[in-house]
């Protein structure tokens, strides 16, 4: 991240058209790409969950989508700031790229309410996985649809010909993209470890409490904690 910021402010040349405000590009675009890839990754992990029924895949999918949603908030805010500076408006409704990203964001905003409206952990994970796969498939479809549409004001950065960026700008952009990707993976792992620890702690506590109850009802010494405990919903 430090290398990326150094390149943005000390190495990348000023854009001839937009000037200094174009520096937002190195934050906004990698943030958007990583958020969208995170949504797709959430869908792929949901497929893994449905195939294996391993709850850890459900948790991975949930964390990826949750984190992507946080990044998407950043995309919308930084994009609005850039739009205000460049176009004079906070939001442009006739720009397909902006509106399509907003649609994806609003779609994923439904993920958590849907998930936590279901009490049964198995059903919760299954329904959330179906949502994640459907919405995850919508992301590339949406991206292609926007690409096919004629944009009036939003510039195209990545193309099969490599875009129109000079070498220094392209290098800075790719370093920023890698940095953002690494940040995503780090935060994803961080949250995953924390969620897993919380989950395991709850199970341990329940097993302990169960064994204590069993021990007191028998009147003897408490038995070792061996009772199986049903899986808990992630958000509980």
């Amino acid at each position: 991240m430090a290398a990326s910021l150094s390149l943005v402010f000390f190495y990348a040349p000023l854009d001839a058209d937009q000037g200094f405000i174009q520096k937002i590009f190195y934050l906004h675009v990698p943030l958007a790409i990583v958020a969208l890839l995170g949504f797709i990754a959430g869908g792929v992990m949901a497929i893994k969950y449905l195939r294996t029924r391993d709850p850890s895949w459900d948790m991975r999918s949930y964390v990826a989508i949750h984190l992507s949603l946080v990044l998407a908030v950043g995309v919308l805010i930084t994009g609005s700031i850039w739009a205000k500076g460049s176009w004079g408006h906070w939001w442009v409704w006739d720009e397909p790229t902006l509106v399509s990203f907003l649609i994806i964001f609003l779609l994923y905003c439904c993920y958590q309410p849907l998930r936590f409206s279901i009490e049964d952990p198995e059903r919760q994970a299954r329904y959330a996985a179906v949502f994640a796969i459907t919405a995850g498939a919508f992301v590339p479809v949406n991206f292609i649809a926007v690409r096919l549409a004629q944009a009036f004001s939003h510039p195209r950065v990545l193309s099969t010909t490599g875009g129109n960026m000079p070498g220094e700008m392209r290098l800075t952009f790719y370093v920023s993209l890698i940095a953002m990707g690494l940040l995503f993976v780090t935060l994803w792992k961080f949250e995953l470890v924390s969620k897993h620890a919380k989950f395991e702690l709850k199970r341990l506590r329940r097993r302990l409490e169960l064994s204590l109850e069993e021990g007191t009802s028998r009147g003897g010494a408490p038995s070792p904690p061996t009772a199986t405990v049903p899986a808990q919903p992630i958000g509980s």
Binding site: D17, I21, F190, A197
Partner: protein, 54 residues
């Protein structure tokens, strides 16, 4: 629109990077709070185990 002068554009660039930084810091702070809650839970589990041992 013509390019904004540096002092004007600087505000927007700073705002965008501050928003990003705030988001990351908030996220990490919330995660840190959750981790400290887990630590407290571990402690209470230890206490529960100690009770069992008595």
């Amino acid at each position: 629109m013509p390019a904004l002068p540096l002092d004007e554009a600087g505000k927007y660039v700073a705002a965008a990077y501050i928003v990003f930084l705030t988001l990351v810091v908030l996220y990490v702070a919330i995660m840190a709070m959750k981790v400290s809650r887990i630590e407290r839970e571990v402690e209470s589990l230890h206490e529960l185990l100690d009770e069992r041992g008595k």
